[in-house]
Amino acid sequence: MPQMNMIEAIRDALDVKMSQDSDVLVFGEDVGYFGGVFRATAGLQETHGLHRCFDTPISEGGIVGIAIGMAANGLRPVAEIQFADYIYPAYDQIASEAARLRYRSNGDFTAPITIRTPVGGGIYGGTTHSQSPEALFTHIAGLKTIIPSNPYDAKGMLIDAIEDNDPVLFLEPKRLYNGPFYGDPHAPAKTWRGHELGEVPSGHYTVPIGEARRLSKGEDVTILAYGTMVWVAQKVAEDMGLNADILDLRSLLPLDIDAIEKSVKKTGRCVILHEATRTSGFGAELSAQVQERCFYSLEAPIQRVTGWDTPYPHAQEWAYFPGPKRVGNALRKVMEG
């Protein structure tokens, strides 16, 4: 089985779909000849042609705008936004247009686009290269928002996203591109080599949007996480010797609420993790739903461990990041509660 890191897996997904389907086009800032600032599209222009993988002007609104028009005309565009922090100029095209085109035309026109964009901190990117804006998109009816945490899922979910007939926002935790990250910036960096989720089948396969992945099975506590925080959760739970049910949500909208509900009803305890700003983060929705569905099973208050309600600072990156210490404290608290 080929070994891939997350960038390679993403590139492979694009390559597979571009080879299979001439309607798939890939574009964005620096994605053409250069192959993207994170190299996710490297080589695709050479393989598939200038007209299938190309550079765009620095205009996120324009990028999503043409994607919608192309999709309405039968293509399957995959657009890259260089950093999620720069997605806001495209917010109107995503929320008002891509997400609502099918609805407002009652199915007459549709916008099956995929938008890929790197999220999260951990690379000293400061306020404008570290954000996790998923909650701003899970509030938008008509859009799907997904976020893989490993190479295997990244490839399968991206292929599924491209084949989906609705617009999909595909978030890439940039700190995981080269390897799993367990939350300690001073520990030697791990790569995906040798990790079972770094084994990525060649060719076509999908990981269906809407299904959470269970990382570990346990009876003590449910941990809900996605993106970078998945690995932090795993490490902390292991180190604490907790018997934790860890769910890598992968798909935020649609959400695998059945899996969540089943788990919390079993464990009676729940900790929710995300890097994004706390207030109105996606953790709020998770907490609300767990509370609504599992109220009578809960033995302690649901805990959220999140980024602070400040912009993502540069030098204080690791004071901002919801690292192992804070996750551990929350777990202890929920176990005592």
């Binding site: 205009s59 324009g62 705008g65 192309m70 085109l101 009652n106 649609p254």
Partner: protein
Amino acid sequence: MAKQSGSNKSRLYVPEPPFRPGDTPDYSHIAVPAAHTPPRPDPLCEAHETTPHATSLIRVLRFNGETQGDWAPEVSPELMRRALRDIAMTRAMDERMFTMQRQGKMSFYMKSTGEEAVSVGHALALQDTDMVFPTYRQQGILINRGASMKEMMCQCLSNSGDPLDGKSIPVLYSFKKHGFFSISGNLGTQLIQGVGWAMASAYKNSDEIASVFTGEGATAEGDFHYALNFASTYRAPCIINVVNNQWAISSFQGIAAGEGETFAARGTGYGLATLRVDGNDVLAVYAATKWAAERARRGGGATLIEHFTYRKSGHSTSDDPSKYRPENEPEVWPFGDPLERLKTHLIFIGEWDEERHAALLDECKGVVRETYKSAEAMGNLSGETKVNDFTMFEQVYEHALPHLDEQKRWFAQERD
């Protein structure tokens, strides 16, 4: 001439329209070019050869009924009578719907009165397979392309015959089968989508082009810039139309763009071909569109066309234009009325007369009346719309997601 309401004690300049309610509008300073219309270059000329066209005005129909100049298209009397009919029909429909809105039959309506020649002339010059990305004032395109007026009316009435199942407010039509893109309530957004559509068409080696519309007011949105810019970079086969009807709700065109340049001139700096056309002159609109469509179809890239016209009615049924402009301004507007001008021409060349004209207007009125009757039989907003409430959960996604199914169940349980 501009005067300033209130006192402006600072150096901050804020443009104002020449006339406000109470003023006697005098547009004698707007030169209506009589004979000199800029020459018609080859449609595959260099973009900059059309720079003069961005600041002059392409006209074909003189007020006396003659045609003139380079741009006069070779069109049959039949085609012109077709145009006349489409304009008259659009106007009759607008009239009726406006009245019905006033009677509470629908929540809202928007007329295109005074600027029907833009959509009708434009549509006549396109192929029916070309995709238009319209605003809410291009109903003339649907009339021209033979969309079902009953369906249009049902959409406005949000009733059981509404193809959109009541999801959208009136006038925001979607008619894919007529190459008419779903109209967005968000201004400007479709401009860049149309460019993307055109890029896809080029990618597929298809001959179809896109034609995108904006009012002059909405050119201030970022999407207008994206559209011009991407169209320029990728030489997208499309036409970008700015319908300059002088007003954006209550703001005159000097707010949208400053007072220094025309809207057509915006395109010059992007390396696009640019035309500015008398939008009340259906033959000029037709000719300019033909030129731009040929250019796009033959690989010459995009053209920006400014259609210079006038919004005779209020912005919508929610608007009262006498609050911000002189009541008689539409009448003194120096470019005449598109229906009258075409009629005058047809009579001038002996292909029309007053009697047939009166009959045409009657016929249109009749068609509209009968169509409206049958449309309203399917419901209206003040009575029983007969729209099934559960349709609101449909078409959010291709397949309903579990949480929407659940909400639909809650809705079912809670409503009775």
